[in-house]
């Protein structure tokens, strides 16, 4: 048990408060982001919302059919909220990484202070990562469009579908790599108090040195998340939420929020592993090598 707690897998057990902080922040953000859509949906129906979940989906599709414009408008209204909360949520993620990096439990003031110091660099890294991902998506769409008009034009339907799936998959993988580099860089920033350029250099170096380990872990995290969500969906599908009853919906909420907490815990495990695996900064390694044996005791 002790070994588990001290391994990456035990990270959420060592820092449950930090995991709960991220979960709470995401829950709050999700509640706010979903408000425009929820309000629009409920404003336009003259009945209890349980009827939307009745088998057959007659009223659910009716709302979509008759209130499409309002629902699309609500989705657009959620978009700025999503962007703002993406930035706000960097704080809790920084706090999680700071907690995971600390050998002992930090007192609140030190924890917040460390987190506060991290936020500017986290924000810069996030903006760079999103810009890179956006650019890659744009270039992928452009390339797929050119391929569809060029070499794929002579392919049959199946061939062009395979081509589209393969190139979309490849673009998705590249975007995921950007996300992985982003996470690695954040780990370096937290662990070594590095600057942006240093952390990105170390992240790329780590990716080059341990590609299979990193990609395998990322894939494992992705798969475990998918399994969690799927299991939750299967369990919830067995509860007939179209039936009246507050207890029922509380049960569904409990299941979903347990899944959401476990997803954050999974992310914490992965980030803890990145804190261990990230390559040390080159200058500091060199300095450490040149320093007298007891230099770091000071």
């Amino acid at each position: 048990m002790k070994r588990l707690i001290h391994s990456s897998l035990g990270a959420p057990l060592r820092r449950p408060l930090a995991v709960t902080l991220v979960w709470t922040a995401r829950l709050t953000a999700a509640y706010c982001i979903s408000r425009p859509l929820v309000e629009t949906l409920t404003r336009h129906i003259g009945f209890d919302d349980r009827h939307l979940f009745e088998p057959g989906g007659l009223l659910l599709l009716e709302v979509v059919r008759l209130r499409t414009d309002a629902l699309v408008g609500a989705l657009w209204a959620s978009l700025p909220l999503l962007m703002v909360f993406q930035l706000i949520l960097l704080g809790p993620v920084a706090a999680l990484l700071a907690a995971l990096n600390a050998p002992e439990r930090l007192d609140l003031r030190a924890w917040f202070a460390r987190t506060g110091k991290l936020i500017p660099r986290f924000t810069a890294l996030a903006l760079m990562s999103w810009a890179a991902a956006g650019l890659l998506v744009f270039l992928s769409v452009l390339a797929i469009g050119l391929l569809a008009r060029g070499p794929w034009a002579n392919l049959d339907q199946l061939g062009s579908r395979i081509g589209l799936a393969a190139s979309t998959g490849a673009a998705g993988c590249v975007v995921c790599l950007v996300g992985l580099v982003h996470d690695l860089a954040r780990a370096v920033v937290v662990r070594d108090d590095a600057g942006i350029r240093e952390s990105l250099g170390a992240a790329l170096k780590t990716l080059a040195r341990r590609p299979f380990c990193l990609l395998g872990s990322r894939l494992l995290l992705f798969c475990s998340t998918v399994v969690l969500v799927a299991v939750g969906a299967i369990v919830v599908a067995r509860l007939d939420v179209a039936q009246p009853g507050g207890m029922l919906i509380s049960g569904v909420r409990l299941i979903h929020q347990s899944i959401a907490w476990l997803m954050v815990a999974g992310q914490a495990c992965f980030l803890a592993a990145l804190l261990r695996w990230a390559e040390p900064l080159e200058e500091r390694s060199a300095r450490a090598a040149l320093a007298p044996p007891d230099a770091d005791r000071s």
Binding site: P55, L59, V63, R65, A260
Partner: protein, 632 residues
């Protein structure tokens, strides 16, 4: 019965086996099986050359003039010519052809080399044939052949024919994709001559395909030995000769013949309710096979029970390969094609069930009830969609189209989504080419007809409507029913009100929308706390359909009252006295009127609010998943 005997004698004289039509099953309550009279029969020998995607064929056509008036001309449908250029009626639409949206790759065509008859001194009649469809110089799918002398009413003439069919790259319904071949509309096919002596002939339009006389088919197919064949009818001969596979198929009581050939087919055979069913599918498509069998096992006895026993000995079901998608979802006598992908199945979409049940239903609604699809497409596609919904509901309840993640969709819900889209813009019961596009036709003919029928079933009783449809299906089996026949059956079994409503829905763009317009409640004596409450619910009926409807009144003490409105007024005021106040009014709580244009205005609450915690919970959770995926 008389017509049945004469048909049988004619078939024997032609040397066509009659055993493909099963004897009348001795099931109680079923009408005796009616053997159709042969009007247009074909004996053909066809060879497929898969590398060139070409079929060469020769044989005979035996035609009996079914009208009393002499025929001075013949009309042939050469539907493969629809794919010979982008200028044909089928392909010249700027929006692509039919449902596939494709405009064609390699072209297809049919060339008749010879049409002769001893009756006309072995003269090649085709030399006098017109070169294009009437009034359309760019289309050659509807060809008139003048006769040297008229064929008298009731006279039977045998024609010898020789032709070459070049199959197109699959656009829809017929053609090839790689070495897969779906060979439909491949032979010169006589148009239907009506009893009044008029030819019902038309160019091949992407919205429509069928209208022909019944007859017997005796077709010998010949393809390279490696190819697996499947076809309309019963295989009575299967030999290999000089590297070729030669199979002979025979059938009576059909109005078309289609076949398929592919060197990669996986074959499965099963006996379902006494019918020998062959399933041809791509290798590795186990997911499709199991779902197709499940659908057939449920739907074949279901349709037989309701609309008269399936009369043929065989059924061939083809699941085309993924790159031949436009070959899927088609119906020919005793031969249907399905479709779908493993992804759809994995996502919980019951596409295979839907398409298999739908195409199987066409064996009745088109195969045996051979209505004029060109003039009234709703009689086969619309009624068949209703029959499909009923069959799917029996299989999956209200989760008939989709089920995953705690959500489900029924045929009715999806049908409303599609069928109300075009709403009152156009008429259901109009000729297929009159629709502005396949989207309009799908919405009105497929979905809105089924919605209209389901509405009648729910309002006037499903048993009565089923009886009307069953009676229609049995009475006009192997005939060519018209909308009037359907309406008469509904009037007889459901009532004149229902028949009138159906006529309005089909021919007059009729619609309906019940809406709660107000709920008020007050004490009878304001000063007296113990006084009863006087309440009024106001309900409006919009649209010309006058359908009766149920209303539920809910009071603050939990008491509920159910009222039934006749539907004959525009506004209904329901006044009620009760010891508690009226809190909520729901009109049509069971959603009987599926043509109601707006179900969201069917209920209103006087005070208080509605529960919203489910939507809130689900919305928050989905946003959490999104945030996790984006991962700040």
């Amino acid at each position: 019965m008389h017509r049945g005997r004469s048909g049988l004698l004619l078939a024997l004289s032609l040397g066509v086996a009659t055993s493909d039509l099963r004897a009348a099953p001795p099931t109680e309550g079923r009408t005796p099986e009616f053997v159709p009279e042969d009007v247009a029969s074909y004996t053909l020998k066809a060879s497929l050359f898969p590398d060139e995607h070409r079929v060469t064929a020769r044989g005979s056509i035996t035609w009996t003039n079914p009208s009393a008036s002499p025929a001075k001309e013949l009309y042939f449908h050469l539907y493969l010519n629809a794919f010979e250029s982008r200028e044909t009626l089928y392909l010249r639409s700027p929006f692509g052809a039919g449902r596939s949206g494709r405009t064609g790759g390699a072209p297809g065509s049919i060339e008749v080399k010879r049409l002769t008859s001893k009756r006309f001194g072995d003269l090649n009649l085709w030399e006098k044939a017109t070169t294009h469809s009437p009034g359309d110089s760019k289309d050659a799918t509807d060809i008139r052949v003048p006769l040297p002398e008229p064929i008298a009413g009731g006279e039977t003439v045998v024609f010898e024919v020789e032709f070459v069919s070049q199959l197109p790259e699959l656009v829809e319904r017929t053609g090839y994709a790689g070495s897969f071949h779906l060979v439909a509309q491949w032979f010169p096919k006589l148009a239907k001559r009506e009893k009044n002596g008029q030819w019902a002939h038309f160019s091949f339009h992407p919205h429509t395909e069928f209208y022909a006389d019944f007859g017997s088919y005796d077709v010998t197919l010949d393809a390279p030995e490696a190819f697996v064949l499947g076809a309309t009818g019963r295989r009575v001969e299967d030999v290999r000769r000089q590297g070729r596979r030669i199979e002979r198929y025979q059938i009576r009581g059909v109005h078309d013949f289609a076949w398929t050939a592919w060197d990669a087919f996986h074959t499965q055979n099963r006996d379902l309710s006494g019918v020998s069913v062959t399933l041809l599918s791509p290798p590795g498509a186990e997911w499709a096979r199991s779902e197709t069998w499940r659908a057939l096992e449920s739907a074949l006895p279901h349709f037989s029970e309701r609309y008269g026993a399936y009369p043929y000995r065989t059924l061939t079901v083809v699941h085309p390969p993924l790159d031949a998608g436009p070959a899927g979802g088609m119906e020919y006598p005793t031969f249907i094609t399905t479709g779908g992908s493993p992804l759809m199945s994995a996502l919980g979409i019951r596409y295979i069930d839907v398409v298999t049940v739908h195409e199987l239903g066409h064996q009745w609604f088109q195969g045996m009830l051979a209505s004029n699809e060109h003039a009234y497409p709703f009689l086969d596609e619309g009624l068949n969609s209703y029959a499909e919904w009923v069959a799917l509901r029996q299989m999956h309840g209200s989760r008939s189209v989709f089920e995953r993640w705690g959500l489900s969709l029924s045929s009715e819900a999806v049908g409303r989504f599609s069928g109300l889209r075009w709403g009152r813009d156009d008429i259901i019961a109009q000729p297929a080419p009159a629709f502005s596009g396949f989207g309009a036709l799908a919405s009105l003919v497929y979905s809105r007809t089924a919605l209209a029928m389901t509405t009648l079933a729910r309002v006037y009783g499903a048993e009565r409507l089923d009886e009307a449809l069953a009676s229609y299906a049995r009475k006009f089996r192997f005939q060519h029913p018209t909308p009037r026949d359907l309406l008469a059956s509904v009037e007889e079994h459901v009532g004149p009100e229902a028949a009138r409503a159906l006529q309005q829905m089909l021919f007059e763009r009729a619609w309906s929308d019940y809406a709660v317009r107000g709920v008020v409640s007050a004490r009878k004596n304001e000063a007296d706390e113990a006084s009863v409450w006087v309440s009024r619910a106001v309900i409006a009926r919009r649209g010309p359909l006058e359908l009766p409807v149920e209303v539920i009144l809910e009071f603050s003490d939990g008491h509920r009252q159910t009222r039934r409105l006749a539907g004959d007024r525009r506004v209904f005021s329901l006044d009620v006295e009760h010891s508690a106040s009226l809190e909520r009014v729901v009109v049509d709580p069971k959603h009987t009127i599926l043509l109601d244009e707006d179900l969201l205005n069917n209920s209103e609450r006087r005070t208080g609010s509605f529960e919203t915690n489910r939507v809130s919970e689900r919305g928050t959770y989905l946003a959490q998943l999104l945030l996790h995926a984006l991962g700040p």
